[in-house]
Amino acid sequence: MGKLSRIGWLYIGAVIAAAVIVLAAGSYSALNWSQIGILGLLLIACESSATLVSARGLAWSANTMAVLAAVVLCGPLGAAIVSCGTLFGIRRGPSATQRLFNTGMYVLSAYLAGRAYLAAGGKVGVPAPSDFPGLIGPFAVAAVVHVAVNFLLITTVCWLASDPGGGAGRLGIDSKVWLTDLGYGAFGVLIAALWSVLGPFTAVLVLIPVFVARWAVAQFAAQQRAYESTVSALCQAVETKDFYTRGHSERVSRGAVMIASEIGMRPERVGAIRYAGMLHDVGKMGVPTSVLQKRSSLTDDEYAAVQLHPMRGLDMVREIGFLDEALAGIMHHHERIDGRGYPMGLAGDEIPEFARVLAVADAFDAMTSDRSYRGARPVPEAIAELRKWAGKQFDPAFVDAFVSAIERDGWTAPEAAPAQEPLRTIESL
């Protein structure tokens, strides 16, 4: 979570206070404490194995299933008490405030889900075979209410914590997480149903698939990190051919991501454009080093070799299981809005969106870093240049998005290139 305003603190206080009121006002006489205790342990186990779902530190856990089982077995108040287990989850990450807020949030959504379950005609207690399938309707209502309240409360806190002007797209959680939540919610009714057969042992059996799913998600995240760092290491290796472009791919990738998130692209597309940025110049491998590092102007043949690089890049990465959009971006990143670019001479909207984004980030980084034929320009000058060519070379919308992103978040230009450092050559041949 980012910095909180006063309203944000008030909001968090209100959520926690409401939860305390719910817990304090209830009647504790008819509760089955052994059920609540076991479900509370289950919830702590789920909470302890939470997975991060966004870069902003939001985590998802399978809490929903324990809470919803409690809704059926112990009623609204019981579910609210079970939700207090959130406070005791064994995991690093959340601060004391976050823990308190999460607990308050779960207590409220559990209580409301329990109320909705009763209102829809659900019966509290260990269900018998005769209760099915009649129980499934009210249970579905409770599941939807739980997820919806949860979503509402967390979206609000994220909205209050982020700087004004950030849209919902900047939240960084996609709708899949909420569907996942509903999917695990289905385990809730199973736990309740199995209680009459397996008793507390149900919790053990249910945890196995949950932990496997969590293992798969963690493996996925680890592989993804490995993937990113490998791609970036290999891109750096390619860049050693021309030390003026060192770090160029990485920065173009960063710039393209800034533009993409500024215009509110979906997270998957932002991910794809990040790779496209990293790999956009991979085709330069096919251009002789002597041409890339030439200080004087290029001959026609040499220029033709340079113009070929987007196509060569496409040939190389075509086999990677990418979004087609990323491929189109790599192929067309040297097209111009006025149709005078290469390799196809596309104009205006014919140029794929990714390519138009990459063109802006690519040109900007080229201007703000050293080249063999000139020194780096300062950022304001490069921005002025972007604006000057907007509508001719660049898409004005993306130039505007990039400029406002830079003005807000800043831009780290590369360090000045060191004095001419020759590449290693083979002397022994």
Partner: protein, 423 residues
């Protein structure tokens, strides 16, 4: 993998195909017998058969490819096991016969595989057969006991039996798959079995637990449990699929990016791919487990990445012709590049030591086996290239053999000779 297809075993026994055919034939007979038997005796409890059949077909439709070119259908397996382990349904006794369980499972699997076939992705029949045989064994062991009412009605008498059978089914399926892979890929059975168990155990645990949950939940909830269960199973499946997907993309990307040396004119076209195929085949011949083979494959694909530090390409890219010190520098630089990826340190180590002789003159620690394999495979490819001329291959192997005293590992060269020349 690819290697098996390129380096076909020459003059070896055809037991590989035989094992696969035997399994297929057995599964086929099982299907015919069970369908005929069910047709004669009639379907018992049509609703349960339809509900579980639908779940199995749905799961088969969503089958996924796991790392290492494996097929799995966790939802289908969970559904089939649950059907085999069926307890009373919603308070009424359920007693499907063994033949009915097998028939429903087989037909549902075929129905679920049809859409894949329609879009040109035929299922791997041996994998399907292994799954069917495992489920059949559970049914054959469990149904007679349960149908006769010998299990008792409390969970502590039922659960241990069910749990034991699920473990047996998993071991059986793994053993069958390992047997097929042993023959397809020319690896060793024990190595293949351990690989199989290692890759499959998380999925098997989830599948088994789900099967138990469904079987028990059906007892209380009736067949609605089958539908309710599809949701969390689906979520687990999505997580597994994403994981398998990124693994595949990773390998593909390394394969592609390793080609920068070819595009830049540093090495001959196809060199990295050939060296990596040959290296993996040698590694498998020498009994390496899958995780080590994967590292070997990455290292072999990127073994020439260090050449990017050269201003001008080595003529023909043949590092075997370059002086020892220079080779070492290239290898060292390549390892530096790979080390920047932070997650491939052992791969970097393999690349770093790829040019070291098998028996160092100063009696220091010899390079790891993977490095020795890449060294031999690389030297072989530099000498032979993409040529398919057998006498040239024989010459190259003979030349490598001359140097086995200190340069190349004799075991590696023997395996290489076996692969490219036949026994």
């Amino acid at each position: 993998m690819v290697a098996a297809r390129l380096y076909e075993p020459r003059g070896l026994s055809r037991s590989g195909q035989d094992a696969g055919h035997l399994l297929l034939a057995f599964a086929g007979l099982l299907v015919i017998w069970s369908v005929a038997q069910t047709a004669v005796s009639g379907l018992h409890d049509v609703h349960a058969a339809l509900a579980f059949g639908a779940l199995i077909a749905f799961g088969e439709l969503l089958r996924l490819n796991l790392p290492g070119d494996r097929e799995a259908a966790p939802i289908a397996t969970a559904g089939a096991l649950a059907y085999a382990l069926l307890l009373p349904v919603g308070g009424h006794p359920a007693r499907p016969w063994v033949s009915q369980v097998i028939a429903v499972t087989a037909i549902a699997m075929i129905v679920g595989a049809l859409p894949h076939l329609a879009v040109g992705r035929p299922a791997r029949l041996t994998a399907m057969s292994a799954r069917l045989v495992a489920v059949s064994c559970v049914a054959a062991a469990f149904r007679p006991i349960a149908n006769a009412g010998l299990l008792g009605s409390r969970w502590w008498t039922q659960l241990p039996v069910m749990l034991g059978l699920i473990v047996v089914a998993w071991l059986l399926e793994s053993a069958l798959t390992a047997l097929i892979r042993t023959n397809e890929l020319r690896t060793r059975f024990t190595v293949a079995l351990l690989d199989e168990l290692r890759v499959q155990w998380p999925i098997a645990a989830a599948t088994g637990a789900s099967a138990l949950l469904i079987a028990f939940a059906v007892e209380v909830m009736g067949l609605a449990a089958v539908a309710v269960f599809a949701a969390p199973l689906l979520v687990t499946q999505v997580a597994l699929r994403r994981y398998a997907g990124i693994r595949a993309t990773y390998l593909q990307t390394v394969r592609t990016l390793a080609r920068v040396t070819e595009i830049g004119g540093y090495v001959e076209t196809g060199h990295s791919a050939r060296v990596s195929r040959l290296s993996v085949a040698i590694g498998r011949e020498l009994g390496m487990p899958e995780a080590t083979l994967l590292e070997l494959e990455y290292a072999a694909l990127m073994h020439d990445i260090g050449q990017l530090s050269l201003r001008d390409p080595v003529p023909g890219g043949a590092t075997v012709l370059v002086a020892r010190d220079e080779q070492r520098r290239i290898a060292e630089y390549g390892a530096e590049v790979i080390q920047q990826a932070r997650v491939l340190d052992s791969v970097a180590d393999i690349v770093r030591r790829q040019s070291d002789p098998c028996r160092p003159a100063d009696r220091s620690q010899p390079p790891p086996l993977s490095s020795r394999i890449i060294r031999a495979a690389n030297a072989y490819d530099d000498l032979v290239g993409s040529s398919a001329d057998i006498s040239r291959a024989a010459e190259a192997v003979a030349r490598l053999r001359l140097d086995t005293a200190c340069e190349y590992d004799p075991r590696v060269v023997d395996a290489l000779g076996l692969l490219v020349l036949g026994a």
